[in-house]
Symmetry: C2
Subunit: 150 residues, 2 copies
């Protein structure tokens, strides 16, 4: 059945972030849609942000296009150019290799729901302009900006 049955996909708020960065995303509950539906090339995450939660630390990727669409509720998109409220139907695109750190923050009183997309080709490092964190794609782990281990 091509229609996605979200109730059959595990919802989790796991994160690879070390503390203190993990706390900001504790209210981010997501489902990975691609594995259970057989998609191999497109990555899709169904994400619910509780009030106050962040979608991620502000970041940008080498090698990975990202795209998101808000489905219900609203959140603030924060990036180098400023802040923009995203409401149902609003979309945002983050082309690979463009060094514009971005994330969503739910400053509303209600949960919001969005889909986040990426492409399963060409993953490179992930950069966090605001904090001492770096994702090393070759090693497959988070490090300090100087490369040392957390």
């Amino acid at each position: 059945m091509p229609k996605v049955d979200l109730s059959q996909i595990e919802q989790t708020n796991r994160t690879q972030y070390p503390e203190p960065f993990a706390t900001d995303v504790a209210g981010r509950f997501y489902r990975r849609i691609a594995p259970s539906t057989g998609l191999k090339d497109i990555g899709v995450s169904h994400v619910v942000l509780q009030p106050g939660a962040w979608s991620s630390q502000r970041h940008w990727h080498n090698g990975i296009d990202e795209f998101l669409v808000m489905l219900f509720g609203e959140a603030v998109l924060i990036e180098d150019e400023g802040e923009t409220v995203l409401r149902a139907g609003d979309c945002a695109a983050f082309p690979k290799d463009v060094p514009n750190g971005h994330h969503l923050v739910n400053r509303s009183e209600q949960p919001c729901t969005f889909l986040a997309f990426d492409c399963q080709y060409g993953e490179g490092d992930c950069h966090y302009p605001d904090i001492d964190l770096h994702y090393d794609a070759v090693a497959g782990k988070m490090t300090h900006k100087d490369g040392s281990a957390y």
Copy 2:
């Protein structure tokens, strides 16, 4: 600005389908989001289906994952397993190489809006189980099922 300004992207109902197949999609108005936003690996189409319009002829792809999410209104997803109404927030996944022809038909009295995603890698032929039509990816054109030209 990462937020997508749809008003700045051309909306069209062009189609590569020959007649009589083009008529079914005359009420399909779409915007290609990726080119204007700099995305290279993820393809995104913002589509409005007028009442009665089809999203496409029923089809499936070699080599291309497809995914869609309904944003506003509703349409009927038609595929080998039957018919399913998709409403705001509902998603459907069509993994590459799975021979399950699918399309959306707007049987409601209102327009509906959805996003359709694909991956810009690995495009193969497109198959149309209901009609004498085939997309030949090497030649880059629509043909009859026997390979002859339209």
